[in-house]
């Protein structure tokens, strides 16, 4: 409720600023930045596709009926809705580099501008002629690029403020889907947000904590950069991401990355190290299960150091929401579930254990940093589930792959 009100207020403010200030500024080039579009895309990038497209639709509709509008009612709603959806879809896959969220923001904004022009041309708006588009589109996209970082910063700041320490960032709803690990992340540093030129370490976020309290809360709630795998009897719901830290107190599982040679996880079958009962640990393989960690790489303790890409596990919060009813919850009443200890393990890390399997993974602490910093994106990176499609989770269940080898 509060979030809805905030989104509405932000959209209305953006619309009014757009109409009364930006459009009347008569900037060189004859165009103005589209603040509303950028805001919608930024909200979608930090909040997900549903939030993005709902905000986009209603903000666009409001922009369509606000007075000096000549285009068709629904045109902006259509375009902004699509832009919000696209940005929300992109948002799960952007933590890899510092420029990616801004790049995605710019890309979606440019796409939205182009789509708006295209819709105008389709419906025969006399103002939207091809020469006019050629004049206006590059200039407005350029202004959009200038405005992008500030809007993103503001959205993050407001989100951090609105979360009030309960949630660090992103997707808001305290859903069982778990902690939202969006592309724009909170490093939990307990300070006001700041734009960082680049991530010096690969574990770094590129935007600092989203507000002080929120940052601290994030640091406490998601001590996620070191990998924690906790094992618990697989009662339904036990694998939910947000409940991990509290409910999985029973029996810690120590993962051991035994073999640190490059590519070992990929090449050597893990049959030797396999525990008695088969363990199905899925590290988000995308298309080729054989390349994912679940296919070959993971025996009981043979998680190759390089194979288990440090970025996929070690601190890059990726697509943190496990869909409801994912593989995590399908391990049967007596089975065990393995889940990530926070946003670090999300949709990129799906696992399902066989019944009453009790593997013991021990992770060597000294290798943690090496994993994070030097590991290529071999398995964890490439095999990461990009958008967390549910169908994939179904497909790569234990039934089909039949184990790890």
């Amino acid at each position: 409720m509060r979030r809805t009100a905030l989104l509405a207020v932000a959209s209305l403010a953006a619309i009014l600023i757009q109409l009364t200030v930006l459009n009347t500024l008569s900037l060189p080039g004859g165009a103005a930045p589209d603040l509303v579009l950028i805001l919608v895309v930024a909200i979608a990038l930090t909040g997900g596709p549903t939030q993005g497209m709902l905000t986009g639709f209603f903000a666009g509709l409001a922009l369509d009926i606000a007075p000096p509008a000549s285009h068709l009612v629904g045109q902006s709603a259509l375009v902004f809705c699509l832009a919000g959806y696209a940005a929300g879809r992109l948002s799960g896959d952007l933590g890899r580099a510092s420029w990616l969220p801004l790049g995605a923001l710019a890309l979606c904004a440019a796409g939205g501008e182009a789509l708006f022009a295209a819709v105008g041309m389709v419906f025969g708006d006399p103002g939207v002629s091809w020469p006019a588009v050629r004049q206006v589109l590059p200039v407005s996209v350029g202004y959009d690029l200038l405005v992008c970082p500030f809007v993103l910063y503001a959205v993050l700041a407001v989100r951090g403020w609105a979360a009030g320490g309960r949630l660090a960032y992103g997707g808001g709803r305290a859903s069982p889907a778990g902690a939202p690990a969006r592309s724009v992340r909170d490093t939990g540093a307990g300070r006001s947000p700041r734009l960082r030129a680049g991530a010096a370490r690969s574990g770094d976020g590129w935007i600092g904590g989203a507000g002080q309290r929120a940052g601290r809360a994030a640091a406490q709630a998601f001590p996620s950069r070191p990998l924690h795998l906790r094992l618990r009897g697989g009662q339904p719901g036990s694998a939910r991401g947000d409940a991990v830290a509290r409910t999985f107190a029973a029996r810690p599982v120590h993962m051991r990355f035994g073999n640190s040679r490059g590519g070992s996880a990929r090449t050597s079958p893990a049959a030797k190290a396999r525990p008695v009962r088969p363990v199905h640990l899925r590290l988000g393989g995308k298309r080729r299960p054989g390349k994912g960690l679940g296919g070959k790489g993971l025996g009981g303790r043979a998680l190759g150091g390089k194979g288990l890409g440090g970025r996929g596990l070690g601190g890059r919060g990726r697509g943190g929401r496990a869909p409801r009813g994912s593989a995590l919850r399908r391990s049967g009443p007596g089975g065990s579930s393995l889940s990530g200890g926070g946003p670090a393990l999300g949709s990129g890390f799906r696992s399902g254990y066989g019944k009453s399997a009790k593997p013991r993974f021990r992770r060597q602490p000294s290798r943690r940093k090496a994993l994070r910093t030097k590991a290529p994106r071999g398995l964890g990176g490439r095999g990461r589930a990009r958008f967390g499609r549910r169908s994939r989770v179904w497909r790569i269940g234990s039934r089909r792959t039949g184990g790890l080898s």
Binding site: M53, F57, L61, A66, P67, A69, A77, L82, A132
Partner: protein
Amino acid sequence: MHDTRRTRLVLGVLLAAALVLITLDYRDGAASPLSGLNSFGSSVFGSAEGAVSLVTGPVRRLAGGSGSSAEVASLQRQVTQLRAELSQERLSRAQSAQLESLLQLAGRGGYRIVAANVIAAGPAYADMITIDIGRQDGIKPNETVLNGSGLVGTVTTVSTRTATVLLTTDASATVGVRLAGTGLIGAVTGTGKAISSGGLLRLEVFSASAQLRPGEQLVTFGSASGRPYVAGVPVGVITRVEAAGSSLMSQALVRPFVNVASLGVVGVVVAPPRTNPRDSVLPPKPAPSPAPTPAATRGATATPTATTGSGG
């Protein structure tokens, strides 16, 4: 949640809703069931824009304000009796200068006007503005809007306290014009954003043999009963004559007198002049063909009254 069936369902519903809205608006135009939605949006957002522009307006005007203080003082003395109802504190100096020239132009042409402020401007591909007067100030659609320099546009939609103006430079605006001096008749159409320099008009004179020259001035020809354009309002000056080609009409590019990028105070003509002012409203420093200024209509009807809108 990230991309589930529900997300796609919501997306589909929203897209369908948007397409339905577009289709309804595209098919039915003003008679569509969306007109209620439109008027609702106009009233709500118009009021909000008026309120916001009270704050942002002075900032914008600071950027455009000019003129020495002595000039401003003299101009203020001249127009004191004409802007009796304008609250002094709400007017910056730039505004009062604009209002003064507006009243002078209205006085020359005999237009009865209502002064207004521009509070918002339109989307990327359209040249439209919102002004802070509306139905309660006596504004009706299809009334001419002008400022101290010449023709601004025409009122398209009116809500209670705001009105939307289609500028002459918009690609969908066409104004019947008459060339000062020669009396040739033509029409100017806005070019929108299609020309890089921006804000130009394209003149088509309904005569293949017309000899157009750069520097010739244009006034509005005038519509029946002054809607949507009253007669005699200065429009612009020819800057470039284009080769006729095979067209039946002579074409030229016209630079409007009004700089649409810096509109401040405008006036809506609520009553056309009793007699056609012909070329008398044109600025006094003409170019190659000095327009004859018939003195008959000057001063006879030039008692404009200016009222200001309550301003949202």
